[in-house]
């Protein structure tokens, strides 16, 4: 290890931008730290976009590989997170384009069986299986609703609502104008709300439970 490379404690305290600059100097462990910080966020963003856990994992890994290979192209004018999201967005868009040209259906892949997952969660959190089931059901419903929002609206919407990016950061990451980002998020919210209401209105008719107020 070269002396200019960071020590573990330094890495943990360093900002994302400092870490990627260290990667540019050849510090590979700095990149491990960045992967640790962003893997869950990036994976969840991609998962919301492609609705397939295995594919989401593959695309997330590809985004990290690209970011690593092109680390020297990173400039401090943008935040590292914005830069990383841009790479992931491009990969997701490329995948969507390929899918449109060659519409081969992937089988819905599930990492773990739901019941097995529930058992694990129950032992982890001590929550009642009913409550876990309810949560999982809501999670599935929201995922379905998200899947119904058109892709070009969903992209800025997820970045805003799930990842708390500012409008300016979303504009930088997606390459859209600020006004376009604003209007797309507004439209996505409208879509989301109408599907949300439809979904729970249907559930109202079949059961007594309504949307949680």
């Amino acid at each position: 290890m070269t002396e200019s490379w960071m020590q573990n404690a330094q890495r943990q305290a360093a900002s994302d931008e400092e870490l990627i600059l260290a990667v540019q100097q050849g510090d590979r462990r700095a990149y491990d730290e960045l992967v640790g910080r962003f893997k869950v966020r990036l994976y969840n963003f991609v998962l919301r976009m492609v609705s397939d856990p295995d594919l989401a994992e593959e695309l997330t890994q590809d985004a990290f590989v690209r970011a690593y290979l092109n680390a020297d192209k990173y400039r401090t004018i943008a935040r590292f997170s914005t830069w990383l999201y841009t790479i992931a967005i491009n990969l997701v868009r490329n995948h969507a384009r390929r899918k449109k040209r060659n519409p081969v259906q992937r089988l819905p892949l599930v990492g773990k069986d739901d019941s097995e997952k529930m058992e694990l969660e129950a032992t982890d959190t001590g929550e009642l299986p009913d409550r876990i089931l309810e949560k999982r059901e809501q999670s599935r419903t929201i995922s379905e609703i998200m899947g119904k929002i058109p892709e070009h609206y969903r992209e800025p919407f997820v970045l805003r609502e799930v990842h708390d990016l500012s409008y300016a950061e979303i504009a930088a990451a997606t390459g859209l104008k600020l006004g376009t980002v604003r209007s797309r998020i507004n439209r996505a919210r409208s879509h989301f709300r109408s599907h949300w209401v439809t979904r729970f209105a249907n559930e109202d008719q079949t059961s007594d439970g309504g949307p949680l107020r």
């Binding site: 969840n44 994992e57 409008y167 919210r189 209401v197 949307p211």
Partner: protein, 209 residues
């Protein structure tokens, strides 16, 4: 405020970007509009459920797989870089040789076409046209369609005087170069010009006794 504007204002309100004036306008609208009021309630509720969703974890071997992918990509990158630097000079030499051959070929084709261009007027009998027009044999009158194409040279007229053969041979020549198969000897425009010249010559040339 219309409902459409109210939805935009609601979006800004949810982002915490609505100024006090806009907020009071929105409040006034919401008091009067139950639909927009319900829209805001539903949206708030749905978005808070979305935000409350736990983040999904990628698989346990995510980082191990990623490391393997990075190693493979780096190795590929190194090989490509090496190929790029090693194969630059041979590729450059081949490209240069190809460019040279192409330019030589082009030059020879151009030279050949130039040579063909100078012989055509000599072969074609412009003289009969001149004679028929009442011109002197030594100073043949050139039809306007032939002027400036090399037919106005005195020697081109002398060669064909009194010969109908020239007209026939020109026509035959034009026909022989017509593309009976896919091979085309001359561009179509040149062929047509040759045919037209031969035809006009045949019409104006005196009958052989």
């Amino acid at each position: 405020m219309t409902c459409k504007r109210a939805h935009l204002a609601i979006s800004r309100f949810l982002d915490g970007e609505l100024d006090p004036t806009g907020q009071s306008r929105l409040n006034r609208h919401l008091e009067r509009c139950p639909e927009c009021s319900a829209y805001l309630d539903d949206l708030r509720q749905g978005l808070s459920a979305l935000k409350a969703l736990p983040m999904e974890e990628p698989s346990a071997n995510f980082e191990w797989n990623l490391r393997r992918k990075i190693q493979a990509a780096e190795a590929e990158h190194r090989v490509l870089e090496k190929q790029r630097t090693v194969s630059f000079w041979p590729r450059f030499a081949v490209s240069a040789a190809a460019a040279l051959l192409l330019s030589l070929g082009g030059a020879s084709v151009w030279y050949a076409s130039l040579e063909r261009g100078t012989t055509v007027p000599g072969d074609s009998p412009a003289a009969p046209a001149g004679r028929l027009a009442g011109g002197d044999a030594e100073q043949p009158v050139i039809g306007p369609q032939l002027e400036g194409r090399g037919f106005d040279r005195p020697e081109s007229g002398f060669r064909a005087v009194g010969e109908n053969k020239g007209a026939m041979s020109a026509r035959q020549h034009a026909r022989t170069i017509q593309p009976s198969d896919e091979t085309v000897a001359l561009p179509l425009v040149k062929q047509r010009a040759a045919e037209e010249a031969a035809d006009s010559l045949a019409e104006t040339a005196p009958e052989q006794p």
